[in-house]
């Protein structure tokens, strides 16, 4: 048991952390916002928590709270200019935001440690803490899908004109999606800080962005299972063979192209849809039988 944990523990931790970022990305996409800001919001959460702990000796619990709050606040501020943009322009604007946060992190050396990174963060978060956060966020995402929030996000994503014609204030609901996405990114960024001794600004860069997007596109954007499955497969895959691990971004890129072309709804959503269709067909057949 102990040796099993030694071998798989770090991978489990990695999975739980990445799962949080995947859900942050999932939420904005679900509400029809094509944002790539999760990387930057995670960086804001991580550095908020890290700086408070290292420079001001703030208690980790407070640091995690502050990281979550800063992620939320940054997302809310960002949602305002973003409400005027659509589709690919949102993607470009949020990409610029990721770049700005990255540059600021390197520039503000005195505060963030610059390119050298922020060192000596107490490592107080282990597998149980990550697991608790991952379970909580999974539950919230599941709950959103079963209440009016999920219904409203879905109609906005599918057809904005319809949403508006039913009385939905699109900017307000997209700001909510954004704030939730920022809260989750900030929370898991802060957890990452307290899980890894040091923060390097480049972990929240382009490869982070590609990875989180890949988890969601690969797994699926609709059901809660999408990010759960997508993240699991894409984290485990590079563990199977060294060459895969060394070319992680390349492998993710190729997988993305394949999935977008052949399973555009993602692996988990496609399987769930097929299962749902079979159940409907069986029920219709049974009904027809009963009529005979």
């Amino acid at each position: 048991m102990a040796s099993l944990y030694n071998a798989w523990g770090p991978i489990l931790d990695l999975y739980l952390l990445q799962l949080g970022f995947a859900f942050s990305q999932y939420l904005v996409l679900r509400a029809g916002v094509f944002s790539l800001a999760t990387a930057a919001l995670a960086a804001i959460g991580a550095y908020t928590a890290g700086i408070l702990a290292v420079k001001h000796g703030v208690h980790p619990a407070l640091g995690i709270l502050a990281g979550t709050g800063m992620g939320t606040a940054a997302a809310l501020v960002l949602s305002w200019p973003l409400a005027r943009l659509r589709g690919v322009y949102q993607a470009i604007a949020t990409l610029a935001f990721v770049q700005i946060v990255l540059s600021l992190n390197i520039w503000a050396e005195g505060l963030t440690g610059g390119a050298m990174g922020l060192m000596n963060i107490p490592r107080v978060v282990g597998t149980p803490g990550l697991l608790a956060a991952a379970v909580a966020v999974t539950y919230i995402i599941w709950a959103i899908g079963r209440t009016r929030i999920g219904r409203t996000f879905d109609v906005i994503r599918e057809n904005e004109a319809v949403a508006v014609s039913l009385g939905v204030s699109v900017p307000r609901w997209q700001a909510l999606a954004f704030a939730l996405s920022g809260a989750i990114a900030g929370l898991f960024g802060a957890l990452e800080a307290f899980h890894s001794y040091a923060l390097d600004p480049n972990i929240f860069g382009f490869s982070f962005l590609i990875a989180t997007l890949s988890y969601v596109v690969f797994g699926g954007r609709k059901s809660v299972l999408g990010p759960l499955v997508g993240t699991a497969v894409l984290i485990l895959l590079p563990e199977l063979a060294r060459p895969l691990a060394e070319n992680r971004v390349l492998v993710y890129g190729l997988l993305l192209i394949l999935v977008i072309n052949f399973l555009p709804r993602g692996v988990a959503d496609t399987l769930l849809d097929a299962w749902h269709r079979r159940r409907l067909a069986r029920r219709s057949a049974a009904a027809a039988e009963a009529l005979r």
Partner: protein, 256 residues
């Protein structure tokens, strides 16, 4: 004027194209008001102006005595005004039930925190909305298909889902943009009954339709539009036999 929709000298220009010009109309509650006109006459533009999806160039729009000319589209919907779309707009992969449930948006009141944590209040609300949606679907005879994806339905059934979604908002005014286009005679007769029932409930109805038999059968009062201008109004029979209206349709038979 008590209640209903009131258009006063409404105008809309798209660059050089005048899509609505000095349009005066009223759509009173409890009655079905028709709006006819050849393709490109500006009928859908009127719906888009009233629902706030297009900005008004000139004139004003009153709804139940309130000026909604420049109100945001979602606020107009929340005030009790619903529409269907000429080109059907459903969530094709979602079930009929889910498509209808989103229509209840303006009646959902559970707190955001309750919804985020799926507290009992939010779960109860979802169950209540599902029951109301199922009742509506049953009334339209689609209960057996409630779990089927809307995108796979026949044209006539998809139009019904659109109307159910609009009705879920419980509107006092409903704008129907060609609700029986693509339906067969049986389906369109059923739809006529549904629309009559809505008027009997006291709702104001604006019906846009090319099927003149359908219009004559239902409408108390008809407006005819051509090139963005009203060219005739009055009883269906009077409007359809008006030479100007016949001319606008370029002699295409108006068998009423």
């Amino acid at each position: 004027m008590t209640g209903g929709l009131e258009l006063r000298a409404l105008g809309k220009r798209f660059g050089g194209v005048v899509a609505a010009d000095d349009v005066n109309m009223s759509v009173p509650p409890g009655r079905i008001t028709g709006l006819i006109g050849p393709n490109g006459a500006g009928k859908t533009t009127i719906v888009n102006l009233v629902t706030g999806m297009l900005s008004v160039s000139s004139g004003s729009i009153l709804f139940d005595g309130r000026d909604i000319t420049h109100a945001p589209a979602h606020a107009i919907a929340r005030a009790g005004l619903a529409r269907t779309f000429q080109n059907i707009r459903l969530m094709p992969e979602a079930s009929i039930l889910d498509n209808v449930m989103v229509g209840f948006h303006r009646h959902e009141t559970s707190g955001l925190l309750a919804a985020l944590l799926r507290l009992p209040a939010a779960a109860r609300e979802t169950r209540a909305m599902r029951d109301r949606a199922m009742a509506l679907i049953g009334r339209f005879g689609l209960a057996a298909l409630a779990d089927h994806p809307a995108g796979g339905l026949s044209y006539g059934h998809q139009r019904r889902v659109e109307i159910m979604r609009a009705l879920a908002t419980d509107p006092r005014l409903i704008l129907l943009d060609e609700p029986v286009a693509g339906m067969n005679d049986v389906e369109s007769a059923e739809m006529a009954e549904v629309i009559r029932g809505l008027a009997a409930e006291g709702r104001a109805i604006l019906l846009i339709e090319h099927d003149m038999r359908f219009v004559t059968g239902l409408c108390a009062h008809v407006y005819a539009l051509d090139g963005g201008r009203l060219i005739a109004e009055g009883s269906a029979r009077a409007v359809l036999s008006d030479p100007v209206v016949i001319e606008a349709y370029l002699g295409s038979p108006l068998d009423a």
